[in-house]
């Protein structure tokens, strides 16, 4: 898992991940890129991350992938990410395509639901929490 201040250098990250696994005999490499769209007059999106819980979430996914002979990778931005640049990339390596296709779907969807990352719209230099696009994590409401 990799965390960066600001936009991701997607080509460097994907290229390096490919190089790292060049001799691993994986038959499939599926990548996902999240790019900030220009909408609602935003200049950027901005992100807060709680790294200790994110690392545990990712480690659990790494174990889940390992059980089916695969590897999951991810990188995410912290702070402001301007429109038309990337805030999130992930990838799966696996021996055959079917496992990788299914894992990337489950991995990215669970990421959206349970990775401890908070998103803000940036308008006129101000950060506004994206409450309406956010999802309560599993177990939410325990203290209510």
């Amino acid at each position: 898992m990799e965390l960066y201040s600001g936009s991701l250098d997607t080509k460097e990250i994907f290229g390096r991940w490919l190089d790292e696994q060049a001799d691993s005999n994986y038959g499939a490499y599926i990548s996902f890129v999240g790019t900030i769209r220009a909408e609602d007059d935003i200049e950027a999106l901005s992100f807060d991350i709680y790294e200790p819980v994110l690392q545990q979430w990712f480690d659990a996914w790494q174990e889940r992938a390992k059980a089916v002979g695969a590897v999951v990778k991810m990188a995410h931005a912290i702070g402001d990410v301007p429109v038309h640049t990337s805030s999130y990339v992930s990838a799966v390596f696996s021996p055959k395509r079917r496992v990788a296709l299914e894992l990337i779907d489950a991995f990215v969807e669970d990421f959206k639901a349970n990775a401890p990352i908070w998103k803000y719209d940036v308008k006129n230099g101000e950060r506004i929490y994206a409450a309406d696009r956010s999802t309560a994590m599993d177990g939410a409401g325990l203290l209510a």
């Binding site: 819980v53 999130y88 990421f111 908070w118 309560a136 939410a140 209510a144």
Partner: protein
Amino acid sequence: MIKVEFLGPIAKAPVEMEAATLADVSAKLKEDSTLTQWLDKCAVALNDTMVNDLSTALKDGDRVSILPPVCGG
């Protein structure tokens, strides 16, 4: 004494309190009107591990984190 920290957009300084279980933490946080809009949507971690049981026992020095709704990517 345990410490409760509020993550992401809650924008509230950490608080310290005496609490034997998470149920005690719940009772104390419910007294804070600034948290009314948050508690029903927030998940909870104890010393950075997610927890789901109000009867979870707490000990001196424990750290409880309050995690509001997320949206990575």
